[in-house]
Symmetry: C3
Subunit: 204 residues, 3 copies
């Protein structure tokens, strides 16, 4: 089940990456790279930081084909994508939760301490979007708004807490998806957000 | 032979990195770092992604000296470099092919599957330029124009195909250089390029 | 002793990272990430490049809490921070020297050759600030001015030279801090700097 959600999620992430590349007028190669990195960059950074080699996607070339294919496909259907905005927001939120759970589990399985497990879940959830934004030369959107990373944090903490309390894996995942989707959609449609910090002096 | 081309190539790449640093008015230290990363960053990213430790240049301090020296040297001869534009384009294309072949061979030797071998070749060919552009705060040029990465992709596929067909290593490399140089110089002098994707709406 | 200086230094670095995030109007999560990466990113990049797993901070969750706490704390006291400018400059310089010494020692302990040891010291000293600036979408300040990286280079060379001459560890560290602080404060208060390189033509 988590695998299916994962496959849908990396497809959706690849497509949003391709659109970001289109906003920078990239060529079809640039679109493919950004699509790939948006979808699989989070897991790549997580595996590098945890020293978890070989990196997951290198053992699954089908993920490579899926994300590159999704990137190229997006170029052809981009004119219709704004109509699917709501679908994408839900898929993106599902993906964020799935990435977080998978990332936490990788770190748990390697025996890392709990704070590192939480960080591993968050890295998996957000690093792909950060790479996309850095390569498109803009300040990463997840650092600025929309409770994106906060969802990842809450989901990781909830999952580990319920795990610790002995709640079964399926029920635990269900709770993660319900809470994660709830917060994320609340952020998007109700404008929930964190306080921002504005500082205009220079220390130098 | 590949080693000599490699040494010439990292020197040429370091010099183009130094010029990019000059466009951002960096100091001599910044110039050195950008020169180093442009030349050796591709191999570094490849080794990290493949889990190939120790990273190649850490075992060859002479590469470090060569690229730093080339960076500093560039500062003194920069006023003459536009006259050597054509020389640089050829050296840069040679380097792109050499990097791709070397990168593919590293991944092959580690037993990775073929799609990952191709990606490893391309990472080696283009990641140095991507790091240079990100650190100089611009959208990576390889994502936007000039068939740069496409050359790397075609060369990797051709090399692996001929390898599979039992073509000898020397003939195979020769074919890679002829085809790679041909496409790259066609892109530069004839304006060959890939279609670009332009998307101005926002999904958010 | 070096450990105490290190703890003070990562706190100070986290606080400067938080201010940089504030200049980009990030939310409290973005502030935390930038604070963490500014303080611990240098050691993270060093460990990845050296293949030194597990990465240092994953074994010390208290560093994670310290830097995140310092980032959030900064938001509340930011209005008073310009008055502490001189304190921060000294703490930052102390941190630069401490990071360099620690990084060099990690590479020495792994048996890397001396040029790589020096580079490892410099990566530890400056990569955190580079990550901060890339994520805040600006050209890294260490590449442009203020002898920041040069201090790291001089300290690494001095430390290794005295080490080689048989000077005791404590005296050696003292010398590193005196020389490092001297150069850095000279750069800040006297305007010492390296020549910059300005190049406005395009090779392409």
């Amino acid at each position: 089940m988590l695998t299916y959600i994962y496959l849908i999620a990396i497809t959706a992430e690849a497509m949003t990456g391709a659109l970001a590349a289109g906003r920078r007028n990239m060529d079809i190669f640039g679109v493919s790279v950004i699509a790939f990195l948006t979808a699989l960059g989070g897991g790549t950074v997580r595996d590098i930081v945890l020293g978890h080699f070989p990196i997951a996607w290198t053992q699954h070339p089908e993920y490579l084909y899926l994300t590159l294919g999704a990137g190229v496909f997006t170029v052809f259907v981009s004119r219709y994508m704004h109509r699917l905005r709501n679908v994408f927001l839900v898929l993106d939120a599902l993906g964020l939760v799935a990435f977080t759970l998978i990332g936490s589990n990788v770190a748990l399985g390697m025996g890392y301490q709990l704070p590192v497990v939480v960080v591993a879940g968050m890295i998996t959830g957000i690093a792909g979007g950060v790479l996309r934004d850095v390569l498109c030369n803009r300040v990463p959107v997840v650092f600025r708004q929309e409770l994106y990373a906060s969802v990842s944090l809450v989901v990781a903490l909830l999952y580990l807490g319920l795990h610790h309390l002995g709640v079964g894996e399926n029920l635990n995942m269900l709770a993660s998806f319900v809470v994660g989707l709830g917060i994320r959609l609340g952020a998007v449609y109700r404008g929930w957000n964190l306080p921002t910090f504005s500082y205009q002096r220079s220390l130098h």
